[in-house]
Symmetry: C2
Subunit: 214 residues, 2 copies
């Protein structure tokens, strides 16, 4: 069978195709956001994300600063932790983690009759070293984070990637983000997911590498 077997060629060709098919639609985004948009489409093969992605003005700079400070990154699924490039994050001494499979968290969630995502977020958001939050699965995790920001139980994050996917609360929770003065990248509506969350952070990280010659 005849097909492309070389990894760099595949990646390069993919982005060429995406750029070509997007045409002028990419111009709707600031130059620093374009790599993020393209990487999400690379991950999903779904051009609808061009219309669904939404960024706060301060999201990119705030994320750059947080990454360079070597912050912790809370992820609402272990799949996100697993999907993030350890090599890339290692260059900033940034540590991704997830608590939903933690034994204490599972036990507490069961006792209280709430999702493990809620309890996991309650613990993570209290840690001042955790400045970036990647939420690709659970609206309840996003709601909990927002409540804690409001009540002052959590310092203002450097970035919320608000991309929980689904049919119960996902779209609503992502609208709620707009009420807060906090750097965010979100997907409007029901779509999103763990792979989308990973793509967004990678889009930002690879851009810093390029900019700073890392």
């Amino acid at each position: 069978m005849s097909y492309e077997r070389r990894p760099m060629s595949i990646e390069q060709k993919s982005f060429e195709i995406i750029t070509q098919e997007m045409g002028s639609a990419i111009d709707a985004f600031d130059a620093t956001l374009q790599p993020v948009v393209k990487r999400v489409i690379h991950t999903t093969a779904d051009f609808e994300y061009t219309d669904l992605l939404d960024f706060s003005d301060d999201a990119v700079q705030s994320t750059f600063d947080a990454l360079k400070s070597g912050c912790k990154i809370y992820c609402d699924t272990n799949m996100i932790v697993n999907g993030l490039s350890k090599v890339a994050l290692g260059k900033f001494s940034c540590k991704p983690y997830c608590l939903v499979s933690d034994e204490d968290v599972s036990k507490e969630a069961k006792e209280r009759g709430v999702t493990r995502s809620i309890v996991g977020m309650e613990h993570a958001a209290k840690d001042p070293e955790t400045k970036i939050f990647l939420i690709g699965n659970a609206p309840t995790a996003l709601y909990t984070l927002l409540e804690m920001i409001k009540s002052g139980d959590c310092a203002k994050p450097s970035l919320i990637v608000a991309v929980p996917v689904g049919f119960v609360g996902a779209a609503e929770s992502k609208e709620e983000v707009l009420k807060y003065d906090v750097p965010y990248i979100r997907v409007r509506g029901r779509k999103g997911g763990s792979t989308v969350a990973v793509a967004i952070l990678h889009g930002l990280i690879y851009q810093i590498f390029q900019r700073e010659g890392i």
Copy 2:
């Protein structure tokens, strides 16, 4: 903020919404396939998968038999391994694994100038205990598996989940599957991904649990 915090209610309501919005479109699928279709939509919030999912007639029964035999499951990303329910697979003594981050595999891929997905699959497909293949990322992994089946270097799999995502070879590799007499579940076109691969196997597994009262 008022939102649903109970895990079982969220899952149940999600599937009720999916069932309602799909309407009669679900009738296009056999009863044993319907839970798989719904779970993919639950994971992606993308109803287009109703038109993109395609199953061979023998896929469900063949997968059930393989799972009950306690086979190994090769996944083309670590995200898939991570996303699969360890509790569920443990009930069948099935073991998911991925080789793309294996040191020897990385070294060999670099030396040969091919993707790690190719080399990982070459090793996995030679193992007769590996009967289920979940391919959510790399067309090159899928092509390699098909070539090995053709050449006789790999026994006929019990299931190929052919859902690599992307722009270079993804759609083409998933058409190639049709030329083989092998049980498959695939997504036509460019879409797919690690979360889709996980959803498909979970859809099958939870159905066995329900059917057999596990």
